[in-house]
Symmetry: C2
Subunit: 348 residues, 2 copies
């Protein structure tokens, strides 16, 4: 690193081509409006100099002067390391990158956001949001206050996953958990299950609410549709509780918990799905080794990534507001953990 050779600017190009800086800018942006005219010879001359020098406009200056940057920010709410949630986010990122590449945008991963109280903060004394034209928000739980702030500032963004209003509608691309869960409940009812239990993670996220809503809506004809919250660590006690109240099928929000319940059940000499059916409600958010083919559904994560970019570009250039909230269908996974309830048990 000696003296950094001052980079070529439009002024340099202008001097070489014998025109003004403004003309260079006009040629560069291929402006052909009615009130902007450049003679073909002049245009060619400028273009030739540009080609010779290999000049490319400084994106920073361009952004400062005009409006857009063709940069899409990606804010990952949960700290990326060392948690395994990385693997959960990866498919979203793949989809985002794919679509960003297609529309010619660069991706800015906002990794510099500081962690306060265990979670990343968008807004802090040196936030860099404005480097990007808009931002994609990834994370199970997103701070409502920050969404309010984004709305108030009129900053273009889109959340991956449905979000409640926050001082205005929140643009999002989510998965239609309610429908997916409802379909699984209906499948269970068709197989004769009458006593269903929903096992939640106990977190206040929208994604949990939606699943539970789907469960409740579809389980109306069931004899009993209970709800409890449990984690993987309490699997044994949970299985006892479930059996005690005659539950024949559980709908488990957290994948790791489902895995734990299955082995706890087997440890008690129960068969799955013979004695207890287990339905999972989404992909693993942390890596859990298991060979069990659980019945459940798959979240269209790559597609959500792609569409979030699409929605964001819409928000940025201010097209119709109605399309800024999307719910994508989840693909049901047949699996082997949803069976037919034992009639003897069912008759108790």
């Amino acid at each position: 690193m000696t003296a950094p050779p001052r980079r070529v600017t439009q002024r340099d190009i202008a001097r070489m081509a014998g025109v003004s800086q403004a003309t260079v800018s006009l040629v560069l942006n291929n402006r052909t409006d009615a009130d902007v005219r450049i003679a073909p010879e002049t245009r060619d001359r400028v273009l030739r100099v540009i080609t010779e020098t290999g000049y490319a406009a400084d994106p920073v200056a361009r952004r400062l002067a005009s409006r857009f940057n063709r940069i899409i920010g990606v804010f990952t709410y949960e700290p990326a390391f060392p948690s395994g949630s990385r693997d959960f986010f990866h498919p979203f990122l793949l989809g985002i990158e794919e679509y960003a590449e297609r529309v010619g945008c660069d991706l800015l991963l906002l990794t510099s956001a500081p962690v306060v109280d265990g979670r990343r903060r968008i807004f802090h004394h040196d936030n860099r949001l404005r480097l990007a034209d808009g931002c994609i928000l990834l994370g199970r739980e997103i701070d409502g206050a920050e969404l309010h702030r984004l709305n108030r500032d009129g900053y273009p963004y889109v959340a991956v996953g449905r979000r409640d209003d926050a001082g205005g509608p929140v643009p999002y691309v989510g998965a239609d958990y309610a429908s997916a869960v409802a379909q699984l409940v209906e499948a269970a009812l068709r197989r004769g299950h009458r006593r269903l239990t929903y096992v939640s993670m106990g977190a206040p996220a929208e994604s949990s609410e939606d699943r539970l809503r789907g469960f409740r809506a579809a389980a109306t004809t069931a004899e009993s549709a209970g709800q409890m919250s449990a984690s993987a660590g309490e699997a044994d006690a949970t299985v006892d509780t479930l059996l005690a109240d005659g539950t024949t099928v559980v709908f488990v929000e957290d994948f790791a918990t489902a895995v734990a319940l299955e082995s706890a059940a087997r440890r008690r000499g129960l068969s799955v799905p013979g004695d207890l059916s287990i339905v999972t409600l989404g992909d693993p958010t942390s890596p859990v080794p298991t060979d069990i083919a659980f019945t459940g559904f798959r979240i269209p994560r790559e597609e959500m990534g792609r569409q979030s970019v699409e929605v964001l570009t819409g928000v940025i250039d201010g097209s119709a507001a109605g399309l800024h909230q999307r719910l994508l269908a989840c693909e049901l996974v047949e699996g082997r953990t949803l069976g037919t309830p034992d009639p003897a048990v069912d008759q108790r």
Copy 2:
């Protein structure tokens, strides 16, 4: 999207605090030089207004005016999609992100670079390199001409993987393939192998040269040390060739080719490593399903990612040039595909 509310600027802060814009900037950057003095009361007043408004400096303007952005560009040479090389790059990216987070930098994935003749181009009519303070280059083969250009422009960058000089030394963080391959060759010699063959991919990359160099340097005491180039598709013919010239151990550059050779050998009724030892020279660059525990080495990809950020920051702020080329040791993997040659065969 109604009228975008003009964002708060230093001028606004200045007006509110009853000072000049320059003062706001000085306070903001905590300038305490001898020739810049701000009275404590003034400083506090400005800071209070900044806190109240939640103001944060526009990183774009900041970059234009001064020098640095705290953005690290990441250029992925091979097109990311749909090739599976994605999985190969992922560990590098993890390391890069981890270190970038630690030093408070954001990452700019330069996904907008256009693909020409099957490979991404750094330099094109609208390249966005200058958005970042410097750039990390990822890819098996990197165009020497582009490296020349980077050097000429004095643009700070670092390559992941060793690179030959290109109009000057190229800063890099590479894996020490030569040593790793040499160690494997020595291990084979110790086990009694005398006829070794190196199977390359036939690509002109530095990573291939280094491996081959290590092979040649260590194989001097062998009876024969041949070299051929082959791909996974020609596995059967390759095995025939190898057996015909009495080879007892092959060093295979490409992981997929090694997998193919192993199954081709078994198809011929040969045992691995009984009849033929197979040593792989690096991690799979594309996903190849196999249960075989190949003997070989592991590339320290995450660590390379981390150190590439470290080197880049050094290049950017112009510290000692001697440390800008690093080779990291590879971890040897024992595996089960390097055996002892059959004495009968060896005596031919």
